[in-house]
Symmetry: C2
Subunit: 412 residues, 2 copies
């Protein structure tokens, strides 16, 4: 039997009616001839309830207990969905992480899946089970304690199961019906993509298109798991949603696939830093140790042995970054005249595997922004992406201008 | 280190403040020099929420899924209490049933504990753990699936752990402060007992004094586990509550220890049953198969080859009993003229190990009831108990009269 992995997030299983709706979708795939592995999240709101209790008892909680408590939400959904499937005469049973087992590292609260031995599931499928409902987001540490993979870990669970069980595809059901060329709330010309490559999806995921967890896309790319994103609230068929797949499966692609934006960016500049070998490490090591997620880094030309160093980070980490820099200055490991934080920026990116073979994407981007009078503050590029920081007030304008400039409203 | 088992029910852990209160009580026992095993129930209301979801998805649910879902409530409490203890600097960790493991039969929803290997807990106590917080009411079936012991199973879990871990005592914290000579809501002369024997407690438990689960008392008697019942909402010390223990630990005992009552009884009479060998089996086998919990059975003398058969059962099982009897009649396996159900009765019992060696307890009981004009409808006796069915309107009167007649307000 071909196998299919289906994953449903918290809003898709938020109440009994929605769980029944999920059961009907799963039953249809069984009727299509699949043995199905369903990965479920906790009912929407339940994880927050559990986390709230933990926080109020023990703000600096033992992560092992946190995991034991919070994982219970997914266990409940798994059991309820198995019952709903049985009501539709589908042979189904629930599996908690330790029962499969999903073997993880012991990094509680942020564990990584190490292995999913398939013997237990294989045996039950051979005995006639048609659906294995697996509690997502959790696993078993080497010492026999329960781990969680951290928020969004259910996507990762789904992809890992698809790889381990050699599933034909991994369908991620969510509250949007696919991946778009831009945020439809910003430009009504945004168009749903039928297919997108792993590399592009990875850039989009990390750029704030909150459709898929970055880690799950990485894992899918590594194991060549065909990933489909589709809506759990609409009727669907074989061609619904967006397929995230290997470049080679995408017949013809646009130079640029999409325009992404991120509101939650701040620009920080260390003014007049002594320019010497090792200065970058002296700056970014303390930031890393302080847990600041530095994204873009730009170093201007040096003059009189001094330079300006600019980087971006999430807005809510600005205070932490400032503290780390002042501490490094006090320790004498770095020296700067001023530290300027600009929280009033946003990041706009164009992403596309096509730009590898097409020159001039960056130039066309800058031209389109200039034509609208949008001033660019910082630029970085990667192989399939060009990102800029601009004033936040230009965000919508910039997205719309770039969507037009790269003709993203025309299907490839 | 001497070991102590402490058990807290759902109302004792109903919210975060109460969980902290429980943690303080546990910490005190650690300071008293104990290694402690705490057995917890789900937070009050949580089990009902989970059961409600199960019922609304699948009224005739798969008991294996029911167990997987419902057991999550205890897991949450165990984790939260472990965190609360850590906040009070007590080295504690949570244990789910499968982690200990608590090995049970595979009778899902009503499993029995078969074994509790102590190696895992022993090793952690040796490493410095002072408190093991165990999720009650659950275990692991031979096939690796989760079982539950049925309602009230947390008491049984506690006693089983006390036996397996050779604990010095098993303290059952509840919302009453001990076992009384009668229900204090019925007679204000009711007096808390300092000690009571297993046998007496067993009779009282099965007679509707809802302090302890019958099965847990049976288990305690079998393994000679000293059981203490006390309040989780009051300050307590070494002599609080009621100790349920071996007869030999009770220096001097009253003839009668207590007067129990049960409101939830119905009397059913099969009128004019053909009296032949095997007729009792022909009546009570179908009742057992229908799940009717028959309590008292009385067969009157036979006349002209016919007799009347009377039995009692819980009020809410009357319809089921009637159906089973009509079906047996239709099948021809029994024959009766009429079936009379009287839901307007109650059961009053006097219990005491002292009555073994004292004649006349029953006579004194009947005399006291007669003096108040209470008519007795059915009588049964056991070695340490005399029970009668009387009209429900006499319940309070009967309890008070018997409490006085046996001078239960005087300490032994």
């Amino acid at each position: 039997m071909p196998r299919l992995v289906m994953k449903f997030g918290g809003t898709s299983v938020a109440d009994i009616d929605r769980i029944r709706n999920v059961a009907r979708k799963v039953k249809r795939e069984v009727e299509n001839g699949f043995d199905v592995i369903v990965i479920v999240s906790a009912m929407s709101g339940k994880t927050n309830e559990l986390v709230g209790w933990v926080d109020s008892i023990s703000p600096l909680y033992d992560a092992r207990e946190y995991d034991a408590i919070v994982s219970s939400g997914e266990n409940v959904t798994a059991g309820l969905l198995a019952l709903a499937l049985q009501e539709y005469d589908v042979p189904a049973r629930s599996w908690q992480g330790w029962q499969v087992p999903v073997i993880t590292t012991s990094a509680h609260g942020a564990a990584r899946i190490e292995d999913i031995p398939t013997a237990n599931l294989d045996a039950k499928f051979a005995e006639g089970m048609k659906v294995a409902v697996v509690a997502g987001f959790q696993g078993l540490a080497p010492d026999g304690r329960i781990t969680t993979l951290g928020r969004g870990g259910s996507d990762t669970t789904a992809v890992a199961f698809a790889a381990a069980m050699q599933a034909q595809r991994c369908d991620i059901y969510t509250d949007v019906d696919g991946v778009y060329t831009a945020d439809p709330r910003i430009t009504d010309k945004a168009r749903k993509l039928n297919r997108i490559s792993y590399e592009e999806m990875l850039e989009l995921a990390s750029l704030g298109a909150k459709v898929l967890q970055t880690r799950s896309v990485e894992l899918a790319m590594r194991y060549r798991v065909r990933l489909r994103v589709l809506s759990s609230f609409e009727e669907s068929n074989e061609t619904s949603g967006t397929l995230v797949c290997d470049e080679e499966e995408i017949m013809e692609s646009n130079v640029v696939s999409g325009v992404a934006h991120s509101r939650d960016e701040a620009k920080m500049t260390l003014v007049s830093v002594a320019d010497r070998p090792g200065i970058a490490a002296a700056i970014f090591m303390p930031l890393a140790e302080a847990g600041v997620n530095v994204d873009m880094i730009v170093q201007n030309i040096s003059e009189d042995g001094r330079t300006d160093m600019t980087f971006s980070c999430p807005t809510n980490q600005v205070a932490r970054a400032e503290k780390a820099m002042e501490a490094a200055k006090a320790k004498g490991s770095i020296n700067f005249r001023d530290l300027i934080a600009d929280k009033n920026v946003c990041k706009i990116s164009v992403v596309g595997i096509g730009m590898r073979s097409h020159a001039g994407v960056a130039a066309r981007m800058f031209e389109a922004l200039a034509a609208e009078g949008v001033n660019i503050k910082v630029i970085t590029t990667s192989e399939i992406k060009v990102s800029v920081l601009v004033d936040r007030k230009y965000m919508e304008l910039a997205v719309q201008a770039l969507h037009d400039a790269f003709e993203l409203d025309n299907a490839a």
